[in-house]
């Protein structure tokens, strides 16, 4: 009976209810969309750092990742049980070199990553970001996949021949020709301007480091759980090697990810404080308008607790209705953003932050928490906003209330 009364009451002032409802629906939908886009940005960032370069876990000689010392290498033929761990979905052995890449009159400092194409594709996704040309092929001797910024700086196209010079491990001047196979563009300025993928064998020969690696990069099933896995894998490692997770290689990124939950609550709170005040206002008005009616209801025998419950049910009903439509609309908008998105590359450039890159696009990912948190908080806000007016209604003196005009 109270439910029925509450439902009918909220339709009493149709226009006001619809306005309040639409404010609630829109705010929760926008919130869900906003959090989805936020998550999308975070995922882009994490992906740019891990899936375009580091991998989720990296095995390397202890201390190698601090200064990338060429001599901190290890033999490629070590038997590492970590590579067979069920959580590890791919691994890529790599050798790294820093040097000068040159074409015609242009030269640029670069980072060369010697890789085996089939393995590297299991870990990173540069093959999905090719702007022109193609990825390295397994049988290729001296192909090179280079970043778009670098290609522009050197003014090269697929097919052009480059010279790479660096100091080899024996002190000699390592130099050899590379042929551009493809050009990638990830949006990450750091990688696009300096990274070059070359065949592992070619680089081992150039650096006079036959059969040696600097790191083995791993892809794992659950990137967010990489740190735990790193701990598990450390046990089976030779003592001179270590396993680092992306959080250790990119501590700022780890903080960004960790602070996401807090940021989400802050956004939810800020938006809902505004919405909550709106709801509070509406309910107060609707309760004050009905003072006499509450008086009459109490006069005919309704208990104060029932009055309070009735008002709370009204706000709860509003909350549920807006929740259904808000979540529905929010999910629809998020889905649109997830599958279509908005490209902003015309007016914005990518921002590299905390080691990852925020791409100039609005792109959402759907996460349960991004829907659950706004939904639950919306209901809480409704009940909270309903509580004050409900209490006020329940505390009215029937005589006074009835006299009210």
């Amino acid at each position: 009976m109270l439910w029925q009364l509450a439902l009918r009451n909220i339709w009493r002032n149709r226009r006001r209810t619809l306005l309040t409802l639409s404010a609630m629906v829109i705010s929760s939908a926008l919130l869900i969309l906003c959090l989805g886009v936020f998550s999308g940005m975070l995922k882009d960032m994490l992906a740019s750092a891990t899936e375009q370069y580091f991998g989720h876990l990296v095995i390397s000689a202890k201390g190698y990742q601090d200064d990338r010392d060429m001599f901190a290498n290890f033999p490629a033929d070590l038997d590492l049980p970590a590579l067979r761990h069920p959580q590890v979905t791919g691994y890529s052995p790599r050798l790294r070199s820093f040097g000068l890449l040159s074409f015609a009159n242009n030269s640029a400092p670069v980072e060369l990553l010697g890789i085996r194409p089939q393995h590297e594709q299991q870990v990173t996704s540069l093959q999905d970001h090719l702007q022109s040309g193609r990825y390295l092929r397994e049988e290729e001797r001296n192909g090179a996949v280079i970043g778009a910024g670098l290609a522009k700086r050197l003014a090269v196209q697929p097919g052009d021949e480059l010279v790479f010079v660096t100091q080899a491990a024996d002190g000699s001047i390592g130099n050899d020709l590379l042929q551009v196979s493809g050009i990638f563009s990830t949006g990450d300025q750091g990688h696009d301007n300096s990274l070059v993928l070359v065949p592992l064998g070619w680089l081992q020969q150039l650096l006079v480091l036959p059969g040696k690696l600097h790191e083995i990069s791993l892809r794992v099933e659950q990137p967010r759980q990489a740190a735990i896995l790193a701990g598990q894998l450390t046990g089976g490692m030779p003592p001179e090697l270590e396993v680092l997770d992306w959080g250790q290689m990119l501590p700022e990124m780890k903080e960004v990810v960790a602070s996401y939950d807090v940021s989400r609550m802050i956004i939810v709170t800020i938006l809902y404080i505004a919405t909550g005040l709106g709801i509070l206002n509406t309910f107060f008005m609707s309760v004050l308008e009905r003072t006499r009616e509450f008086g009459v209801l109490m006069a005919v025998g309704m208990r104060p607790g029932q009055i309070r419950l009735m008002v709370l049910l009204e706000t709860l009903a509003m909350g549920l209705i807006s929740l259904i439509f808000g979540v529905g609309l929010g999910v629809l908008l998020s889905l649109y953003m997830a599958f279509v998105g908005i490209d902003l590359s015309g007016s914005l450039t990518p921002i590299t932050y905390a080691g990852g890159t925020i791409l100039p696009r609005l792109h959402a990912v759907l996460e349960t928490a991004n829907i659950l948190v706004p939904a639950v908080v919306l209901l809480l806000v409704c009940l909270l906003a309903g509580f004050l007016p409900a209490n006020r209604a329940a505390r009215m003196q029937p005589v006074v209330a009835i006299r009210e005009e």
Binding site: R12, R292, E293, V296, A299, V300, V399
Partner: protein, 225 residues
Amino acid sequence: MPLIELKSVSKIYPLGNQQVVAVEDLSLQIEAGEFTVLAGPSGSGKTTLLNMIGCLDRPSNGEVWLDAEEVGQADSKTLSQIRLNKIGFIFQSFNLVPVLTAAENAEFTMMLMGIGKKQRRQRIVDLFAQLGLQGLEDRKPNDLSGGQQQRVAIARAMAAEPAVVLADEPTASLDTQTSEELLALMKELNREQGTTFIFSSHDPLVISHAQRVVSLRDGRLESDR
């Protein structure tokens, strides 16, 4: 023992730093089945007195006995329970719940009491027939005339079979003919069901229908006949 007994009841309202004495040292007994009118000019204390009898308000001094129970100092929860079970209210401005239909308004108190649906329906059918409201069950109060609304209000007050029905100027918002009809109805209910009715009014028409007229002036009893 009378159904209602007021013993030296006073009601004093604070008004700023002054005190308004609405009812002063008033004693009154009303037996079950009476059809009584509280008469008197505006401001004489009729509504105040009815509110105290109806457990909507507590006296400043004195005792209010209802059905052999002192209710003057009971807590608000007890009072609302007494109102639900023993008292029916009829207001000058009808005060029906606008979102409920005529039938729902009438059965509201029965619902609050937890009376089963079947029993409620039967009671409503009977009451509506008696009050000439057949066919109006599903109308909302706004779609009813004043007289019809007040008849629904009477149905609501009577539905739970209260010991006493209190009506504060029930005809003040109605025209003479409708008032006449309503008074006849209430007298009939009083006669047939033995329900005690207490009215307040300064309308001579209403007063003329009364079995007993209690006149008030400045919060005091002026005459009782």
